[in-house]
């Protein structure tokens, strides 16, 4: 047996008392506590786990804890809850948004209310005479869907890796468009009251389509404003 194997065997042997200790602890009853009876919070309240003589009689009343130790646990929980409420623990109103990336590190968000579908980027047909920001159209289960290249639209940095690119299908007021993005990062919660107004400056393009900036890092889009612009929807502008 090599030194390494011998060392490993020694260490494994050293674990033996731990396993014995674990089994002994499993059998130990907490000091001052009675063995948990069916229906206490420590036991699974399922008829399958009860002795046959008890199982058929189990109902809501029988499952209520009567043990004094258990009742003390419930009382201490109630006291804890009362303390937490006094400290003003109140959830703020919040909504979900889909977070996506343009370029290597710019994060944007779309409120879930406008979100319809995520699509892999398949074949996008260019439409002659449309602005550069219109990537083209795709066939979405028989429907012609305009696809807006958001990187062009917001003039963000070029990003060569297209492997994670996706089309986010959004809708508002009956209009629908696909947004071509570099990667979808996941969903997040935001507190609408904490969305800061977008900063207007010469370097920012299409700011009218920005709802605001969340936590200084995510640009939340105003999808309703985007879809109200007839120049951004191919089938509308062609009509």
């Amino acid at each position: 047996m090599g030194k390494e194997n011998k060392g490993r065997t020694d260490k494994v042997s050293a674990m033996k008392p731990v396993f014995e200790e674990a089994l002994a602890f499993a059998q130990e009853t907490a000091p001052g506590a009675k063995t948990p009876s069916p229906g206490t919070p420590h036991a699974r309240p399922s008829a399958a786990g009860l002795p046959p003589a008890i199982a058929p009689a189990v109902g809501a009343v029988q499952l209520m804890p009567r043990d004094e130790n258990v009742q003390e646990v419930l009382r201490s929980r109630a006291r804890l809850l009362a303390r937490l409420q006094k400290t003003g623990v109140v959830e703020e109103a919040r909504d979900q948004y889909l977070c996506f990336r343009l370029g290597p590190n710019e994060l944007y968000g779309i409120p879930y209310a406008c979100l319809e579908e995520l699509m892999y980027v398949g074949s996008i047909a260019r439409v002659p005479g449309t602005p550069r920001a219109i990537a083209g159209v795709v066939n979405r289960r028989g429907e012609l869907l305009s696809v807006l290249d958001l990187r062009q639209f917001f003039r963000t940095d070029a990003h060569e890796d297209a492997s994670q690119a996706r089309i986010i299908v959004v809708q508002a007021d009956g209009a629908r468009v696909g947004l071509l993005v570099d990667a979808v990062e996941g969903n997040e919660f935001y507190v609408p009251a904490r969305v800061a107004a977008p900063l207007s400056s010469d370097g920012v393009s299409n700011i009218e389509y920005v709802q605001g900036i969340y936590e200084g890092k995510v640009t939340l889009l105003n999808i309703r404003a985007m879809l109200a612009d007839p120049g951004l929807v191919v089938n509308r502008s062609a009509a």
Partner: protein
């Protein structure tokens, strides 16, 4: 010799299996790893393992189950010499299996969401941890905040209340409220194999912290 990591929490639905499966997948990239699902017949981790096996993604990972504490100790004894890591997904109750996990594990992770209900249930578990520490003072139990909404006042205040009242250490890395965890789990994947970069990064931070704690 295997380093044993237990994922314990007496309340259901707090992300125990999510934590155990993702941790097992990440550690299996470092060495031979076994994930033992101690919550059968629910078997979320075992089902995840079955999906992963079907997809040919197990690699260095073995997924098995333990019906009770005796079987769990028996399997740990068998595996401890051949594996680098053993991750145990415990049941959602203070059962014998939870107690043996506390004693056997080099590190116990306790997933906790920022809600009063989860804090109550954890209060019960803390008493068991204290009893276990009377036998083995070196037992290392740390809270992992899950579905944590960093920006909400309730989450911050609950975090402070838990720290003061439960007296358990917390992992610095916190897992956010992300669909990526559920989506990946349902496909037999880990978040490191999913598209959500934020989830990948935050879980990567947790894995690094776990490895540092085990070093």
């Amino acid at each position: 010799m295997a380093k044993i990591i237990g994922v314990v929490q007496v309340k259901g639905g707090v992300g125990r299996s999510t934590l155990a499966t993702n941790l097992a997948a990440a550690l299996s990239l470092e060495g031979a790893t076994t994930l033992i699902d101690g919550d059968v017949p629910q078997g979320t981790s075992a089902s995840w393992g079955a999906l992963r096996r079907e997809a040919g993604r197990l690699g260095n990972l073995t997924v098995t189950t333990a019906q009770d504490h005796v079987e769990l100790v028996h399997k740990a004894r068998q595996l401890v010499g051949s594996q680098d890591y053993i991750v145990i997904d415990g049941p959602p109750r203070i059962a014998e299996i939870t107690k043996v996990m506390l004693i056997m594990s080099r590190l116990c992770l306790l997933p906790l969401g920022a809600s009063a209900a989860e804090v109550w249930a954890t209060g019960d578990l803390v008493q068991t941890v204290e009893a276990a520490r009377r036998r083995r003072p070196e037992i290392d139990v740390r809270i992992v905040w899950n579905r944590f909404r960093e920006h909400t006042r309730s989450a911050r205040e609950l975090s402070e209340a838990v720290h003061a009242q439960l007296g358990l250490e917390e992992m610095q890395a916190r897992l956010g409220y992300r669909v990526a965890y559920g989506e990946a789990l349902g496909r037999g994947l880990s978040v490191s194999e999913w598209t959500d970069r934020l989830a990948r990064d935050e879980f990567g931070g947790l894995v690094a912290e776990v490895k540092a704690a085990l070093a």
